[in-house]
């Protein structure tokens, strides 16, 4: 079905869950009043990104009052949002929730925690172990958190699991001033476009803005159609509220014109991956 999605390009405050929750609620109300049916927030929207030793202090259980409040709000609009999740056995995950009609429809825990360059996630956070598609009012979705999307297998698994919409929640730092456009933005735009094109999926990419200790998050949230075309893109480096009119017909037509996913041979892929795993000795 056609639906209207909002990409909430916000600027979370580092370690200030109450302040961020307030911002998030305001955005949800604004989106709902504008007639949107889905709102997508960035990665770690409730906590900020470079948490380091703040991780346990900024973490929330899925049954915490803060998350219950968001679940309540999802009766009026579907919500995808990133936060630090604390589990019963005291592990801390970089997680994303998909909330709809007053219930948690899906919880994704970031699998690929980058620990190179300026990143240090795996020092502080536990790794997720699965990618799984799930059903929503708007069709079958898959969620990825930032670095997850740089692993082809992650999007591939979700597409094979039937997802036709990929949501990517992101806190991507700005870097690379040599080219015509920002290096990290150009790389991401290639990635979202190519992923959509390869998998005949639409991509809803929500990236934050603001600075943390001199590191800028560049924004540029976008809705990419299954053809790989960027339909709407948010401002670079500035807070924004992006409305995307998501067209079901475009998905259907693309899947008729370029039925690569229909023709994808899961059996061949599995057979070869199993052979490779065996040859590597595990």
């Amino acid at each position: 079905m056609d639906f209207t999605a909002v990409l909430a390009q916000i600027k979370p405050k580092l370690g200030c869950v109450a302040d961020n929750l307030k911002t998030v609620e305001e955005q949800i109300i604004k989106a709902r009043e504008s007639g949107a049916e889905l709102i997508v927030f960035p990665e770690l929207a409730l906590s900020g990104y470079f948490l380091k030793d703040l991780v346990p202090d900024a973490a929330l259980r899925s049954d915490s009052p803060e998350i219950r409040r968001l679940i309540e709000l999802s009766r009026g609009i579907s919500i995808a949002i990133g936060f630090v999740e604390e589990t019963d056995d005291y592990h801390f995950f970089n997680s994303a929730l998909y909330l709809e009609d007053g219930a948690i429809r899906h919880l994704h825990r970031k699998v690929y925690l980058p620990t190179y360059g300026l990143f240090d996630e795996q020092r502080y956070l536990a790794r997720g172990t699965t990618f799984r598609a799930f059903d929503t009012k708007f069709g079958r979705f898959g969620m990825l958190i930032c670095e997850d999307m740089w692993h082809l297998s992650a999007s591939y698994i979700l597409a094979m699991d039937g997802a036709t919409t990929l949501i990517c929640l992101s806190s991507s730092p700005a870097r690379g001033i040599e080219g015509d456009s920002l290096g990290s933005a150009a790389a991401w735009q290639k990635l979202t476009s190519t992923t959509a094109l390869f998998l005949n999926c639409r991509v809803l990419y929500s990236n934050r803005v603001g600075f943390e200790d001199g590191v800028n998050f560049w924004g540029g949230s976008e809705y990419v159609a299954p053809s790989g075309e960027s339909i709407v893109r948010g401002a670079l480096l500035e807070v924004d509220f992006i409305t995307a009119q998501v067209d079901e017909g475009a998905l259907r037509r693309e899947r008729i014109f370029s039925p690569m996913i229909r023709d994808e041979n899961l059996f061949v892929t599995m057979q070869d991956l199993q052979r490779i795993a065996q040859e590597r000795g595990r």
Binding site: L14, K52, D53, F211, G214, N216
Partner: protein, 273 residues
């Protein structure tokens, strides 16, 4: 292929946004900086004026009696062109009073003392004005260790610490820094006729080309030599980076507890901001 040709529009947006965001998030709206008459502090003044409005930027020129009078004139020119507040606080009496006790001090000791004297004035004005001190050391200087620890290297925020001198020239032209300041020879201005490039023994352009490949692109020594850099130059610069690394780190703390500051007590500076 030079990566030293940067996208000026983007760089300007990033650095102006950095100053605006990082100053305001601590609940302030003003900055103070030392204006030497040179290009680095001139560029930072222009960035700050664009970020916070020139009325919120306070520049202080702090000449010593041997400073070239042209430096103060250029500092004034920059203040007028950018519209920022400007004052002059000479450091001659303080510095001379100290060296009366140590009349045999070398030029290096005198230069360091002057840099640290200026630092105390800037941080005093930080308290006086409710303003953050902006740093003016560029990436070339920081990597080479060509600065005084706790002197000109001290600041609350440094907008230009990740751009090379070559970028400073380009961005200064883009932002309207007066051409007299852009075109003159860079100098620490400790004695008459001193220039950075003479003292360092190479030009900023030469060393920026090397540093960009060595640091940003992580070329190996072999790749650098094959790429046309003289082996002696590569080795000398590598040694400079390594030997000055202490200047780029916090003081080393003897670890005895389970949570030592900065080692296993780790928080961003923007903690709660």
């Amino acid at each position: 292929m030079s990566g030293l040709q940067a996208n000026m529009e983007l760089l300007r947006k990033l650095l102006v946004g950095f100053v605006r965001d990082e100053v305001r998030k601590v609940g302030l709206n003003r900055i103070v900086l030392g204006l030497s008459g040179g290009i680095d502090s001139a560029l930072v003044a222009f960035i700050a004026a664009e970020a916070l409005g020139p009325e919120n930027v306070h520049a202080i020129c702090m000449p010593y009696k041997t400073s070239n009078p042209e430096s103060e004139a250029h500092a004034r020119l920059v203040a007028t062109a950018s519209g920022i507040n400007f004052s002059v606080v000479p450091i001659t009496t303080m510095v001379d009073a100290y060296f009366e006790i140590f009349p045999d001090a070398t030029n290096m000791r005198r230069g360091n003392k002057m840099a640290r004297e200026r630092m105390t004035i800037l941080f005093d004005h930080s308290a006086l004005l409710g303003a953050l001190v902006l740093g003016t050391s560029n990436k070339t200087e920081l990597l080479l260790g060509y600065g005084t620890l706790y002197g000109d290297m001290a600041s609350a925020l440094n907008p230009i610490g990740d751009i090379y001198k070559s970028h400073v020239w380009q961005l200064s032209a883009e932002m309207g820094v007066p051409h007299e300041v852009i075109e003159k020879q860079p100098s620490a201005d400790l004695w008459a006729g001193q220039t950075d490039e003479e003292e360092l023994g190479f030009t900023y352009r030469q060393v920026d080309e090397l540093l960009y490949r060595m640091v940003d692109q992580r070329w190996t020594r072999q790749e650098l030599v094959t790429g046309g850099f003289e082996a002696e130059f590569v080795d000398a610069i590598s040694a400079k980076i390594q030997n000055s690394h202490f200047k780029r780190r916090l003081p080393v703390i003897a670890k005895v507890s389970n949570r030592t500051i900065d080692r296993d007590f780790r928080y961003a500076r923007d903690w709660g901001k």
